[in-house]
Amino acid sequence: MTDSIYAPRMARLADVRPMTELEKLFVVEFPDGGSLGHQPGQFVMLSIPGVGEAPISVSSSPSRSNGHFELCVRRMGDVTGALHRMKPGDVVGIRGPFGHGFPIEQMRGRDLLFAPGGLGLAPLRSLINQVLDERGSFGRVIILYGAKRPAELLFRDELEQWAARDDVEFHVTVDRGDETWTGNIGVITTLFPKITVDPRNTVAVTCGPPIMYRFVLMEMLGKGIPETQIYLSLERRMKCGVGKCGHCQINNLYCCKEGPVFTYAQIKNIPEAL
């Protein structure tokens, strides 16, 4: 029988780890133990049998695959709601990996500035961990992470490890603190004055809610980082993942195929992009 690009492979939830009120981490494996073979920044189409399919960015680094991959998923719609009710051993469908990820080869030797906001850490974590696993081949690693509240911070154990490393400059902030929070308070842009960069040698990467991009981009451009060295990972509705269904179009760009990772230079003249 001819294969269909719309029929998923069967996969199993190896583990489900609660992270916040809305997010869980799903560890997924294929029955044959095969790896997903993804690049940081790529996504999969996740099927919940009988419910539907949604695009989800891969959160784990290829350098730590061990026959499984991780999806950090917010409970939001039908598919993610059903996923959140599942437990280890349950079966899901996977298509992909799809899309253009981060060009890690072009980042080697450079200083890296990561600025994820909220759930935007999910796709960036894949790249950050790959970079940290090959730490020697990159320059400075700066991570500026913002969330709405302390309780919404993702991957808290890893954040602590990043904060403790000498070779990572890590700053975190929340929009609103709580009684236990002793760190920075304010939106993510309040972290930028804390750092100085060598703009020519810096590659900046950001992902977050739509409202965030405009302000984070102003900070990055304000530091003199060239438009071609600023990468964004964009979210769109997707029904096929392969550049046909039309839902993810940003003018003439298919976010699923030409993206989801774009340089600012690629999209700055497209009003619909940000």
Binding site: S4, I5, G52, P210, R236, R237, V242, I250
Partner: protein, 345 residues
Amino acid sequence: MRLRVLPKEQVPDMVRALMADYRVWGPKAKGPQFAFEPLYDPAEMRLDYNISILSPKVALQPPQERIAVFHLDGGFSVEPVLEVEPTVIFGMHTCDLHALELLDRAFSADFPDAHYLERRKQTLIISIECLQPCDEHSFCKSMGTWTADEGYDLHLTDIGDAYTVHVGTEAGEALLAKYAQARPAADADVRRLNEVMSAKWPRFQHRLNFDAAELPSLLATAYDHPIWAELGDRCLSCGSCTNVCPTCYCFNVIDSPDLSLKEAVRLRRWDSCQLDEFARVASGENFREARAARQRHRMFRKGKWLYERFGKLGCVGCGRCIRACLTHINIVDTFNAIHASQHRR
């Protein structure tokens, strides 16, 4: 390949013979209009139709199709479904033939879509030359789609009591040999064909006030044109324009469990960039919220973006979107207005 002649009285027999081996789609009367539908009786076919409500793409990308079945017992297994049967589309007009070329490119690009392509592979196209414009809304002459010299297996032209048959492919040649008794064209037939075609050309009018090849560059400077707001104010976001468009192929994918919950089907359905929720994600963010932006998106796809991606304009001048629009949004008037305003400057 040599020109043949098919006497008109042979057509019903040919259709009947084809029906034994193929699903045969043809134009049928539907109230005062026409629709491409499977034929069950050769007498239903109306080769004198002006234009079909939906384009014959319905035979290749149906409004809804099954693309996979999930078996939900004990985890799940999944099997792809290709709803394909040997098919003949009889009587396709050349505007729709040009549109088909675009669909072929879209579904073949990068990730080949077996559902469309397998169906396409098993479909033979018998097109027919239009000798009259359908009505005041068609602008096929402006789009260069009022005739065609490729894309068909067989192409008919009405020369009175017979059709001349241009053979486009070997499959068309074989079909003609097996299902009809066409004779080689005589000098008189060729003369008659030339007369018919000479009489055709002046009947069609240009309706774009400029060369369609200029459309991509014209639109390149029209992204912020005030006309989009005007269209947005009128548009009802009903999606009629995209439903009737022969080059629209965007779709939704829906998983639907059966009542036993032992099986679920994955369905592909036509979708429309004109609908409010088309670009909305689960969080509620809508990346193309304004009707003006959605109308602009449609017109840019037709006049610029599909051309840049596939080397062929996304509009074939059939005029269906103009006829279908409840608020008289008119793609020809829109393009002409943009052209006029840019020439004033």
